[in-house]
């Protein structure tokens, strides 16, 4: 799916005050691209994601979705509470298929190889509360890929995991994405994660949220974790950190003077 955001602005009322979450965000995501949004907390990454998802209406500008929209649905993975506690891992992962009326036997057939790839084999009947945090996120990611959605939105899906589990899930996500090349919009505050996974990284500033820089990530897929140790990777990381580090501090100082 292709997404085009043109001069997107989002504001909402909070305590009778108008808060501008996003202003003038223009963004073009091509078919099969993996785009990451990085930025300090409160910079509107999640607002942008929710607007693209259609949960939040844009106050100015518009989001247009064109191209291969799959079945019209959108895949969504959140940091936590992505799974319905009352459904088994299998029912959660195949929820989108169930909603499209795919019969149980067929869903089982479709889900089996995906469960195996994510190391979830044998846990189909487990409820979320019986799964570890990493397992839960695997089910949530599997659900996104099992849906026929043309666009996958991920809001810090690995943000609550320990470093090692996060690495493993990043690898699994890379493998799954490389095989299917769905359009992905990925929110994270982990710069390394953004570079490792994405074809493009967009850096956001806050108050109001806007995109201040775009980095093309030149590495070919399939990628693996070894990439993070290369000079080129480290140089990219340094560049983005510089952007992130300077920007918010300046904003804070400016705000204090004002």
């Amino acid at each position: 799916m292709r997404i085009r955001c043109a001069e997107l602005g989002v504001s909402y009322r909070s305590d009778g005050r108008l808060v501008e979450a996003l202003a003038g965000v223009s963004l073009d995501v091509g078919e099969g691209e993996f785009i990451s949004l990085v930025g300090p907390s409160g910079c509107g990454k999640t607002s942008l994601l929710r607007t693209v998802a259609g949960f939040v209406p844009a106050s100015t500008g518009a989001v247009t979705r064109t191209g291969d929209t799959g079945d019209g649905s959108i895949g969504l993975v959140l940091q936590e509470d992505s799974l319905f506690p009352w459904m088994t891992a299998f029912a959660n992962a195949t929820f989108a298929l169930e909603m499209r009326g795919v019969p149980q036997a067929q869903r089982e057939e479709i889900a089996r190889p995906v469960f195996a790839r994510f190391g979830l084999g044998g846990r189909e009947r487990a409820y979320p509360h019986e799964l570890s945090a990493g397992m839960k996120q695997r089910v949530a990611v599997a659900r996104a890929f099992l849906s026929k959605a043309g666009l996958l939105l991920m809001d810090e899906p690995f943000g609550a995991l320990d470093a090692q589990t996060r690495q493993i899930l990043q690898q699994e996500l890379l493998g799954e994405w490389t095989a299917s090349r769905r359009t992905v919009l990925f929110v994270t505050h982990d710069v390394e994660e953004a570079i490792l996974l994405s074809s493009r990284v967009m850096v956001m500033t806050r108050q109001p949220g806007a995109i201040c820089a775009t980095y093309e990530i030149p590495f070919d897929y399939p990628r693996n974790y070894g990439l993070t140790l290369t000079d080129k990777f480290v140089a990219l990381k340094r560049g983005i950190y510089a952007h992130l580090g300077v920007q918010p501090a300046e904003a804070v100082i400016a705000a204090r003077r004002a």
């Binding site: 079945d71 019209g72 649905s73 959140l78 509470d81 459904m87 909603m99 849906s147």
Partner: protein, 249 residues
């Protein structure tokens, strides 16, 4: 330790202490008959079929009041939970009903609908209704918006949203409400029976107390307790079957 043992050892010790205090004459057996004595009284009452009639009268009233009241309450609560206008419009009446003693309405019902079982079952039914309406209304409103967003974005229809998200998300609260409703319903049924009903455990307790048949009175009270504990236990089993995702203690 076995689960049932943990549940029952303390009541067991209580009964043993009670038996001991009566055999040692620490308690006046006129007002505190021994558990053995109560068991014997219970046996006699069962043999005569007397207590069975009272028990079944109470259980019948409870079941009717509870099922009709709770079903109506859940329907109303789920509807009000999702319709903000009607929720606000009925808020004053509902909160007033929730905190008012429904037993106080019994005389009115007796006048309005006549001195019959219908009027006597109404306060208990009303209690269950209001309790479940409030519980299910709050349950709907407490459903995490995240779950609704997720279901929608993955293509859930309105119907699927209701049955696959709202209903199961509300089930834990509904079960809590249903369990409380069972207790409240029993209390209300027994209380109304004390106010001039011809049958039922409440009537039995009231009459035996007035005729100073203290051992019979205690049998009646104990039966109320046993009914409460048993229904509660059956409910837990049902909950575990119907909502296996709720982590058990």
């Amino acid at each position: 330790m076995k689960r049932w043992l943990v549940r029952l050892w303390l009541p067991g010790v209580g009964i043993a202490v009670w038996q001991l205090s009566t055999s040692m004459q620490w308690l006046d057996p006129l007002f505190f008959p021994s558990p053995m004595r109560l068991l014997e009284t219970f046996r006699q009452l069962t043999a005569s079929g007397d207590i069975a009639n009272h028990l079944s009268a109470t259980l019948t009233r409870l079941m009717i009041a509870y099922t009709v009241g709770s079903a109506a309450g859940i329907t109303m609560g789920l509807a009000l939970g999702s319709l903000a206008f009607w929720r606000r419009s009925t808020q004053v009446v509902m909160s007033g009903l929730y905190s008012s003693p429904k037993l106080a309405l019994l005389p009115a019902f007796l006048v309005l609908f006549g001195v019959n079982d219908f009027s006597r079952t109404l306060p208990a039914g009303l209690s269950c209704f209001v309790l479940m309406a409030v519980y299910s209304m709050d349950a709907v409103r407490a459903v995490k918006p995240t779950y609704v967003d997720l279901a929608r974005i993955y293509g859930a229809s309105r119907r699927a949203l209701f049955f696959r998200v709202y209903v199961p998300a509300c089930l834990p609260s509904l079960f809590t409400g249903l369990r409380l409703g069972l207790g409240t319903g029993l209390v209300m049924v027994v209380a109304t029976e004390m106010l001039g009903a011809p049958s039922g455990l409440g009537a039995f307790i009231w009459i035996t107390a007035h005729t100073l048949a203290v051992d019979r009175m205690y049998v009646g009270i104990a039966l109320c307790g046993i009914v409460g504990a048993t229904t509660n236990y059956l409910f837990e089993r049902l909950e575990r079957r119907m909502a296996p995702w709720i982590p058990q203690e």
